[in-house]
């Protein structure tokens, strides 16, 4: 195992985060804080409780998950697309590194960054709403699994994309809408039956539901289904990325 390479890639990626700290950490924290102000404090105070949880507190897991998904996909895709675009990918491709080492470095850094953002948002939320975490280990597990699997998904997009536009298409047109419609701001029980059934085809529902369960013990779908979904998604992304790196698809000539 080339641990020096893993460390070099990880440090290189994290250095970019700290070089652009306002954009990397400040922007998502500010955006989420605004959600808390608007939905949590301003509108939330006029909303009824959901499952015995005040509305402001109810949306916290969804908002964290919204940031985690967006950040993971963005960080994962940018990390590998940037050297592809700049041409510096030649060094990675010519180095004695294997697929697990590349993934530990790039995906590990992308997941670390998004978890950092998640934890900061969690801490920020305590300013606005009282929080209680019923299953701390469950919360950490969901945070970790979601960050890693969506960073892997982002890494895959970064390899696939051959333009900046393509790099933005999936996060903007697929991930963000699915997250908003995945129960970030509401319980899917509040939807009419037809929409509720349709929503169950949205994979993000399972992530937000599981994450919310770790906070309040409330879940739209069973916790087993949530964990099962993440496991399948993680395995599928791993298989796909491994194939891409092994064959050099869109990386090598």
């Amino acid at each position: 195992m080339n641990w020096h390479a893993v460390k070099a890639i990880y440090r290189f990626e994290m250095a970019r985060t700290f070089r652009t700290i306002v954009q990397s950490i400040g922007a998502p924290v500010l955006t989420t804080s605004l959600y808390f102000v608007v939905f949590g404090s301003a509108i939330g105070s006029r909303m009824t409780q959901i499952g015995g949880v005040p509305y402001g507190a109810f949306i916290v897991p969804g908002l964290i998950m919204l940031s985690i998904l967006t950040e993971s996909v963005g960080n994962g895709s940018f990390g590998i697309y940037m050297p592809k675009w700049a041409g510096t990918i030649y060094e990675l491709l010519s180095a004695p590194v294997s697929t697990p080492e590349i993934l530990l470095g790039y995906v590990g850094a992308a997941a670390s960054k998004s978890m950092m953002v998640g934890v900061i948002i969690l801490a920020t939320s305590t300013i606005f709403v009282p929080l209680h975490i019923q299953h701390p280990l469950g919360m950490i597990a969901f945070l970790l699994l979601t960050s890693v699997s969506f960073s892997l998904f982002g890494f895959m997009l970064g390899i696939w994309a051959d333009s900046w536009e393509k790099l933005q298409v999936v996060p903007l047109l697929v991930v963000t809408p699915l997250t908003f419609l995945g129960g970030s701001f509401y319980s899917i029980d509040m939807l009419p039956p037809v929409w509720r059934t349709l929503t169950l085809f949205n994979p993000v529902v399972y992530l937000i539901s599981g994450f919310r369960w770790s906070f309040y013990g409330l879940a739209d779908v069973g916790i087993g289904a949530s964990l099962g979904f993440i496991a399948v998604f993680l395995a599928a992304c791993l298989a796909m990325v491994s194939w891409m790196l092994r064959t050099g698809w869109r990386l090598k000539n």
């Binding site: 080339n2 250095a15 041409g87 491709l93 010519s94 004695p96 590194v97 064959t247 000539n253």
Partner: protein
């Protein structure tokens, strides 16, 4: 031959159908400077790309110090350093950060003293904290060389190292390359500057349309294929070349004042004495004479034209 890099029956056909390499065989000797010459699109960069893992071969294999570059990629790549043709750098990183990154990527533990020596040898030490984006093109080229050397490779590929580099820097780089060769590093360079190959290489390979058409010691190549000319500036104008000198194939200038004898290195040289004696016997005197040798560039052009 003690080959450190061996290419066997290497072929590459791109998805477009373009056949970049056609069953290339080549052995690179340990510790030599090997210059691979060829026109644009000849297959030079493809060959380097396959050796370094950037291009997937269609057939054949490449071994580095006995390690197959595909099956045993880890051992093979740890031995290789690559300076690419394009100036591809991490614009926002500092020089120091990027060489540290390269060393780590190739599985080496940090060694600040070694990296300092490399940066100093390339006149980059004063720029170690500068962002790469702020450096000149020549400096960026040196950064690429420093990155390639950061893990102490035993084989260094230099793909068009002098492209876009001024004359002074080019000379500096040649000195660095010679220093590396003296330290035991094998250098494989591709270049458009024939002067560069002529100046530095021990052996020359010429590739054209995906085929290696010649591999030869530089000195032997120059001797075998290089043509010499003996130019005689006459004392008095000649109306025509005397018939007794017909066997030499002499050419006379329009003003009748210059005689030129062209000969190949091997054999032709021995006839000069006879020619001069015959000129003297014929009463032809000259006030000056000079010899010139065809350059590697002329040899290269004639070979590539011959292969086309």
């Amino acid at each position: 031959m003690n080959a450190i890099l061996s290419v066997q029956n290497l072929t590459k056909t791109y998805a477009t159908g373009h056949q970049a390499l056609k069953s290339v065989n080549l052995d690179i000797r340990r510790g030599e400077i090997f210059a691979l010459l060829g026109p644009n699109g000849a297959g030079k960069t493809t060959l380097i790309g396959i050796a370094c893992g950037l291009v997937t071969p269609s057939g054949g294999n490449v071994t580095v110090d006995g390690h197959d570059v595909v099956r045993d990629f880890r051992a093979a790549r740890a031995t290789l350093g690559l300076v690419p043709q394009e100036l591809t750098t991490d614009a926002f990183e500092t020089v120091w950060a990027t060489v540290c990154f390269s060393r780590g990527l190739f599985g080496c533990r940090p060694d600040a003293a070694l990296l300092e020596r490399i940066l100093r040898s390339l006149s980059l030490w004063e720029k170690k904290d500068a962002r790469i984006a702020t450096l000149s093109g020549g400096m960026k080229r040196r950064v690429l060389i420093a990155k390639a050397l950061s893990h102490e490779p035993r084989v260094l590929f230099l793909d068009e190292p002098s492209a876009g580099v001024d004359v002074e820097l080019r000379r500096d780089m040649w000195n660095v390359v010679r220093g590396l060769r003296d330290a035991g590093v094998t250098i494989i360079l591709t270049t458009h500057y024939i002067e560069e190959a002529e100046e530095m290489a021990d052996r020359i390979g010429i590739i054209s349309r995906g085929e290696l058409i010649l591999v030869e010691e530089k000195a032997t190549l120059m001797q075998k294929l290089g043509r010499k000319q003996l130019t005689l500036h006459l004392q008095d104008a000649l109306p025509r070349v005397p018939g007794t000198l017909g066997e030499y194939g002499l050419t006379l200038s329009a003003d009748g004042m210059t005689l030129v004898y062209s000969f190949e290195n091997e054999g032709g040289r021995a006839r000069i004495t006879a020619l001069l004696r015959q000129l003297s016997d014929s009463g032809i005197t000259f006030r000056d004479l000079e010899t010139s040798q065809s350059s590697l560039e002329e040899i290269f052009v004639s070979l590539v034209r011959g292969a086309a």
